[in-house]
């Protein structure tokens, strides 16, 4: 019995890789590893240029290699460190330069899928107006790394609903499913809005990059990105500003939304699509006092929000149909509403989509406000109290 147990334990330890460098080949101690947090990929002609940001105690260390393939570029970076192994398994962000997104988006995603170290839950971005290398180098000599900037940016875009940061897995799934997809776009910006005198540059959200047929096909500005988010159910905590109907302005925070897709069929063919968007908002700012107990007042505010969102949604749908790219996943939603009828159609979605009449009906429910009063403060009320 003891012999068997010893044999079992030895074999189990050997098979788990505890045998050292050989014969497993890739066994390494953790202090021999240099962890990469962010990868930037640019493309120029036939060459990829990969920039890697590695975690370090004081700021980031940047490595850069040009190569014909991404595998080669990552492998050659190993030369840059002495006695250490660059480990890509903890990469959290992947930035693609505009040329890489235009010419090699599919190849980059395929590489992420196939590589044994990299993970598919790596966050994906496309750099607008610049290169991935410049974006990775954005923090300059500061203590922050580009990974920190991107972590912060991810929270910001959720707060402003200017885009949504998708992972490589989500992007690959959407691309396979509908042929086009939106990827969070970032832009390198000079720090003119930072008053503290920092010399680093910033990465800001720049809406979405539209990927169609495996390549960068265009951009969605942040305002339209908000409309796309509504259709995709990625609303975040968007803030909507609109006229209050009394000559002033108000702001409302979006707290929830639901999109209901109602396809219309005639003679077995899809003849139209109604999209009912139900939004829930909270009043966060009023330029002038209004009595919120009056139904008419609240109705006007709700209409103001609906008008803004209707404009955004209709513009996004226009762009989507003009590009022939169903990046909001309407086909999936329409099919799910009535799968049998959809499958029996003679005409394909790709043929119908560019000319399909689509109407968006937006209903808004302004449910509450924050600390401010519901009734306007009447003059003399304080004195009476």
């Amino acid at each position: 019995m003891r012999g068997k147990l010893a044999l079992l334990l030895t074999a189990a330890l050997l098979l788990s890789g505890c045998g050292g460098q050989k014969p497993f080949g890739n066994y390494r101690e953790i202090d021999q590893l240099v962890l990469v947090q962010t990868l930037g990929v640019d493309r120029e002609g036939d060459l990829f240029t990969v920039t890697a940001s590695t975690a370090a105690e004081k700021g980031q260390v940047l490595l850069k290699t040009p190569a014909v393939t991404l595998s080669r570029a990552l492998r050659e970076m190993q030369d840059y460190t002495e006695k250490k192994y660059i480990f890509y398994g903890h990469t959290r962000h992947l930035l693609l330069g505009p040329e890489a997104a235009r010419d090699s988006f599919g190849a980059c995603l395929e590489f992420m899928e196939r590589d044994g170290e990299l993970r598919m839950d790596t966050k994906l971005y496309v750099v607008r107006d610049g290169s991935a290398e410049a974006a990775v180098a954005a923090p300059g000599g500061g203590e922050e790394s580009v990974g920190d900037l991107l972590d912060s940016l991810e929270k910001d875009v959720s707060l402003l609903s200017e885009s949504h940061v998708f992972t490589c897995a989500e992007t690959a799934e959407a691309l396979a499913e509908r042929g086009s997809v939106l990827v969070a776009a970032v832009r390198l910006t000079e720090p003119e809005n930072i008053l503290s005198g920092e010399d680093r540059r910033l990465l800001l959200s720049a809406g979405y990059a539209v990927i169609a047929e495996g390549r960068l096909a265009g951009w969605l500005e942040p305002d339209l990105a908000r409309g796309a988010n509504l259709l995709m159910g990625q609303t975040g905590n968007d803030l909507i500003e609109a006229p209050d109907g009394h000559g002033g302005w108000f702001a409302a925070a979006l707290t929830g939304s639901r999109a209901v897709f109602l396809p219309e069929y005639e003679g077995g063919e899809l003849t139209g699509l109604r999209i009912r968007l139900e939004l829930r908002c909270t009043l966060s700012e009023l330029e002038q006092p209004l009595d919120l107990r009056e139904e008419e007042t609240v109705r006007r505010l709700e209409e103001g929000i609906a008008d803004v969102e209707a404009w955004r949604v209709s513009r996004v749908l226009d762009v989507s149909r003009r590009m022939g790219a169903d990046f909001c996943g309407l086909e999936k939603a329409v099919r799910r509403a009535a799968p049998l009828r959809f499958d029996r159609m003679q005409t394909s979605w790709a043929e119908i989509f560019p000319t399909l009449p689509i109407t968006a009906e937006i209903s808004v429910k302004l449910t509450r406000t924050y600390e401010g009063g519901i009734e306007p403060l009447r003059s003399g009320a304080r004195a009476a109290g």
Binding site: K4, L8, A11, L15, S16, N26, G116, R119, G233
Partner: protein
């Protein structure tokens, strides 16, 4: 039968349960998604009927004259001494081949996911040694090993499911497209395929201690396996999406790369992949024992160990010589072996079950 050479029904169930998870990652969810699309995660529910039918069928096949038989004895008493011996012998040879495929696919899996620069024979040898240790000696030893492994494996599954479920994209799964119910039912076929090879472990059924509640426990076991398979599919498809999962070689391992434990621990995928090898070892061990038991009965030999050792050699040869490179081997392990297993379990065994038990054949047991 010596008292020691028996495993309890609980140990037997543990061994069967763990062993069946070996082919799960090889065949699922790809085989299901190919047929049923994103609603394929419902396919295990469709597999319940055929699996329950198989439980009933083997229960009937393995009972004669009020006695519980092993599969080899059941074949002998229904087919007669010559045809019965031939059938049991051929099935044992098939189990050797099948065990080789299990060993090889375990090795290929670990090479593809954790140790790409290592060598396949290392994992074949290591896996085979563990399988041989499991299968050598008394069945009680194998039973204890299986019970400990099952506990360990249940812990792994609990960690995987508990960390994966909160992070799922439920819109990848819900609402399911029930209009494709014929495809979903067709998708049940690979699930049946993965969970049905337990019939081959019935060669050991006469070495399992009698248990009054064996019937209800077997039904509970099938329900439990179906539920675990459902969770396996839900977590994989819900994390990656059907289209992406379909493109991956081992979608489950791609999924576990993404897991995080309370945001403090990540990248424990390699540990899970390596620990998942336990299922291969238990499966190989159980196949060695089953084939050894069958051949012992066929030849009337007193020592099972000899057949277990020969089986190990057979499995090693099968693992080394089958399929060539990983691409061709995928056809053998994902198409050929499941098809043969399914035919044997759902065509051959029911046909044999139709044959009456001959009284004169029962005398074989008295010899």
């Amino acid at each position: 039968m010596k008292r020691e050479d028996v495993m309890s029904f609980r140990q037997y169930s543990a061994a069967v349960g763990v062993a069946l998870f070996s082919p799960v990652t090889r065949l699922l969810p790809k085989a299901v998604l190919e047929k049923a699309g994103f609603s394929g995660w419902l396919a295990p529910l469709g597999a319940l009927g055929p699996l329950m039918g198989l439980v009933w069928l083997t229960g009937r096949l393995l009972k004669a004259d009020g006695r519980r038989l092993g599969l080899a004895d059941a074949l002998l008493c229904r087919l007669g001494p010559v045809a019965g011996r031939a059938a049991a012998g051929l099935l044992a040879l098939w189990l050797w081949f099948y065990g080789g495929v299990i060993l090889r696919s375990g090795g290929e899996r670990i090479l593809s996911t954790v140790y790409p620069t290592s060598a396949l024979p290392l994992f074949l040898g290591g896996g085979l040694i563990l399988g041989l240790v499991f299968a050598s000696g008394k069945l009680r030893w194998a039973g204890r090993c299986a019970a400990v492994t099952a506990l360990f494996f249940a812990g792994i599954l609990a960690v995987v499911f508990a960390t994966a479920l909160p992070a799922l994209h439920w819109d990848y799964l819900w609402p399911p497209d029930l209009s494709r119910w014929p495809d979903i039912l067709l998708g049940a076929l690979p699930v049946v395929n993965v969970l049905s090879p337990w019939v081959w472990f019935s060669f050991l059924r006469d070495r399992v201690a009698e248990d009054e509640k064996a019937g209800p426990r077997a039904i509970r076991g099938v329900l439990c396996l179906v539920l675990l398979t459902l969770l396996f599919l839900v977590t994989t498809v819900g994390d990656l999406g059907a289209e992406l999962a379909l493109r991956q070689q081992f979608p489950f391992y791609v999924m576990i790369k993404n897991l995080r434990l309370f945001n403090v621990l990540e990248r424990f995928d390699a540990v899970i992949v390596v620990l998942w090898m336990m299922t291969d070892e238990v499966c190989v061990g159980m196949l060695l024992l089953s084939a050894g038991s069958a051949l012992q009965r066929v030849t009337g030999s007193a020592r099972r160990e000899l057949w277990v050792l020969l089986g190990g050699l057979g499995m090693l040869l099968s693992a080394l010589l089958t399929g060539g490179d990983a691409f061709r081997f995928a056809w053998v392990s994902e198409r050929l072996v499941p098809a043969v297993n399914l035919c044997l379990a759902f065509v051959l065994l029911p046909l044999i079950c139709l044959l009456p038990v001959r009284k004169e054949n029962l005398k074989i047991f008295e010899k």
